[in-house]
């Protein structure tokens, strides 16, 4: 609501209509460099001013500031920007920075490292040298861009995480940027609704945004460090703040920037990274490329694993009758090879001497076992043990010797 008012107010300036489109790329905000000529300077300043203030809009706590900044915004651009005076613009900017600065302080100081990267491009343009606290301003501006397009679900402090993601998150090239998100916010807080709303709101902006983003990015390239640019291009920053319900993605250079393709790209990335994991897991999948063939391999592998499990379980069931009275020795020896050996040894050694004692030992150890299927075999083996050499007895001695071997 406030946003629409704001939009109307700003839109009342005819020359600003063209600059409205550049809201969509808040990278324009950081594009301090594009101030060669007064004309683009005005526009960039307008956009900067406006875009800065748009992010004020969402801060309902800052309504008082909003009023002051809005008034300061509406009036000066008509004067200074059209006149083209650099000094006037500087004044406007300084004023707005002052307001911004106050607001920014409310939200806490960001990490210096993230903001410092913006200091250099700003330094390159002389008019901006006059600003005090450039880096902080840029930080805040960047942060507000992130904040603006981000959380409408909660205004909680995700700032710490955001500053980390600020480095790569300048361009909200998806339609969730600038003015649009507030409009979407009023309708609902889900990301889907927001994207739908934002699409409705600005068909024109969407068309212009790719061009602008491209040129903005080109400008950035020329001024900012190559390293930062390539880093941003290389990284797909996905912030995982808990209070957000969707993932922020930065569009790479030369790629389509509407929300559809971005969302699709995110989805494709997710799928491809999971397929890579699967490739490592499934043997023989390295040579295969392409989803279909890999899926074939995966299906075959899963089926073979399941068949193996079935086969093993059949074998186990056939052996199962002997499982019961072998169980204790097996458990102690096989399942805990490294630990508990000492106790096992003592147990087993005592069993050699006293079979009955051993049996009672084990029975005491596992009182919860259904005594039926354990005691009876035990007893039979016990009775047999007194007669002749028994498989069970030799098994126990074997297990004992193996325990010794395993030491």
């Amino acid at each position: 609501m406030d946003n629409e008012l704001f939009m109307n107010a700003v839109a009342s300036h005819p020359s600003e209509m063209t600059s409205l489109s550049s809201f969509t790329s808040p990278a324009a905000m950081v594009n301090w460099d594009s101030m060669e000529t007064p004309q683009p300077l005005e526009q960039s300043i307008i956009t900067r001013n406006v875009s800065k203030d748009c992010f004020f809009l969402e801060k309902s706590t800052e309504q008082s500031f909003f009023g002051s900044t809005l008034s300061s915004l509406v009036s000066p651009p008509s004067d200074s920007s059209f006149s083209g005076g650099v000094a006037g613009e500087n004044y406007v900017i300084k004023e707005l920075i002052g307001n911004l600065g106050y607001v920014g302080d409310v939200y806490g100081a960001p990490a210096n490292g993230s903001g410092s990267c913006y200091a250099t491009p700003m330094m390159s343009s002389p008019p901006l040298d006059a600003f005090s606290g450039d880096s902080r301003f840029a930080e805040r501006a960047a942060r507000f861009s992130c904040l603006g397009s981000r959380s409408f679900n909660g205004r909680t402090n995700g700032l710490v995480a955001e500053t980390v993601s600020i480095n790569g998150e300048l361009t909200r090239v998806s339609s969730t940027s600038g003015i649009k998100p507030p409009a979407g916010e009023s309708s609902g807080e889900s990301s889907r609704k927001r994207k739908a709303k934002s699409k409705e709101n600005s068909p024109s902006k969407a068309s212009q945004s790719p061009n602008l983003s491209k040129e903005v990015e080109e400008k950035e390239d020329s001024y900012t460090k190559r390293s930062r640019k390539s880093e941003e291009n290389g990284e797909k920053t996905k912030s995982l703040d808990p209070y957000k319900d969707f993932i922020h993605v930065r569009a790479r250079r030369g790629q389509a920037t509407d929300s559809h393709s971005l969302a699709e790209r995110v989805r494709r990335e997710k799928i491809s990274e999971r397929m890579k994991l699967l490739q490592d897991l499934v043997p023989g999948c390295n040579k295969v490329t392409g989803k279909a063939l890999m899926l074939d391999e995966i299906i075959n592998y899963v089926q073979s694993l399941q068949r193996q499990v079935e086969f093993l379980s059949m074998k186990l069931s056939s052996v199962n009758t002997r499982l019961d009275f072998n169980m204790d020795a097996l458990m102690s020896k096989d399942i805990f090879p490294s630990c508990n050996n000492q106790q096992v040894l003592q147990l087993e050694s005592s069993s050699e001497i006293l079979l009955a004692g051993h049996h009672s030992h084990t029975l005491q150890l596992n009182p919860n076992d259904s005594s039926n299927n354990i005691m009876n075999p035990m007893e039979t083996s016990e009775s047999r043990s007194f007669n002749s050499q028994l498989p069970t007895l030799t098994h126990f001695t074997d297990s004992i010797s193996q325990v010794f071997k395993s030491l």
């Binding site: 880096s135 880093e231 499934v282 899963v302 399941q306 186990l316 193996q402």
Partner: protein, 207 residues
């Protein structure tokens, strides 16, 4: 790494480190490969098997299936219910039991074992048939069909989206590999000593 003295050291250091670390399996996968997990599973399996009452005719196919279900359930428990497939396996067991109880109440009590058996048989047939048929028929969106087949193979993923299915498959494969390792170890522990019982009281290097 911090070669640049000016600002954005974090950027550049991140850039230098941009070549990502070799794709290491996520911690959940490493969990399945650990020895400790295998031991935990083996213990659970052994305990569960002990409680399973095996009917005396050993080549009974139902026993194999019962053991398999026990093994799967033990695996699902070892997964601690964090994954879809583990929850599906456990809920399947509960559902079958519930159905069994219902039928028990309605029909003869003597039919309990057959009920469980037929339940699993039926599902297996459906699964096998669907796999073969669905690949051939309507194979136009080939990837889609394969994804459907895969989602049917992995328990609990029938109506899930592709990324979810892939994630579940990864975990399921890792878990099954561990299951197979544990069961083979268990089998060899049971069978091989008894093979040596004649004439040998002292076994060297069996393991």
């Amino acid at each position: 790494m911090d070669s640049m003295s000016t600002s954005s050291t974090s950027d550049l250091s991140r850039r230098k480190r941009k070549k990502k670390s070799p794709p290491s399996p996520p911690p959940s996968l490493q969990k399945w490969r650990s020895e400790k997990q295998q031991q935990i599973y083996s213990t659970k399996l052994v305990n569960a098997l002990r409680e399973l009452r095996i009917t005396q005719p050993s080549p009974n196919p139902r026993n194999g299936r019962a053991v398999r279900e026990v093994a799967d359930r033990a695996l699902a428990v070892a997964a601690r219910g964090k994954t879809l497939w583990s929850r599906a396996i456990l809920s399947k067991a509960v559902k079958l039991k519930f159905r069994k109880h219902k039928r028990q109440r309605i029909t003869n009590p003597a039919l309990t074992s057959t009920v469980t058996a037929t339940g699993s048989i039926r599902s297996k047939n459906k699964r096998g048939a669907a796999t073969v048929m669905r690949i051939k028929a309507k194979g136009l969106p080939a990837v889609q069909r394969k994804v459907k087949v895969l989602s049917r193979l992995v328990p609990g993923c029938r109506k899930q989206t592709l990324p979810v299915v892939l994630e579940e498959t990864t975990d399921y494969i890792a878990a099954m590999e561990m299951q197979i390792r544990a069961m083979t170890a268990l089998l060899s522990a049971v069978t091989s000593p008894t093979e040596h019982e004649e004439g040998q009281t002292h076994v060297l290097g069996v393991w």
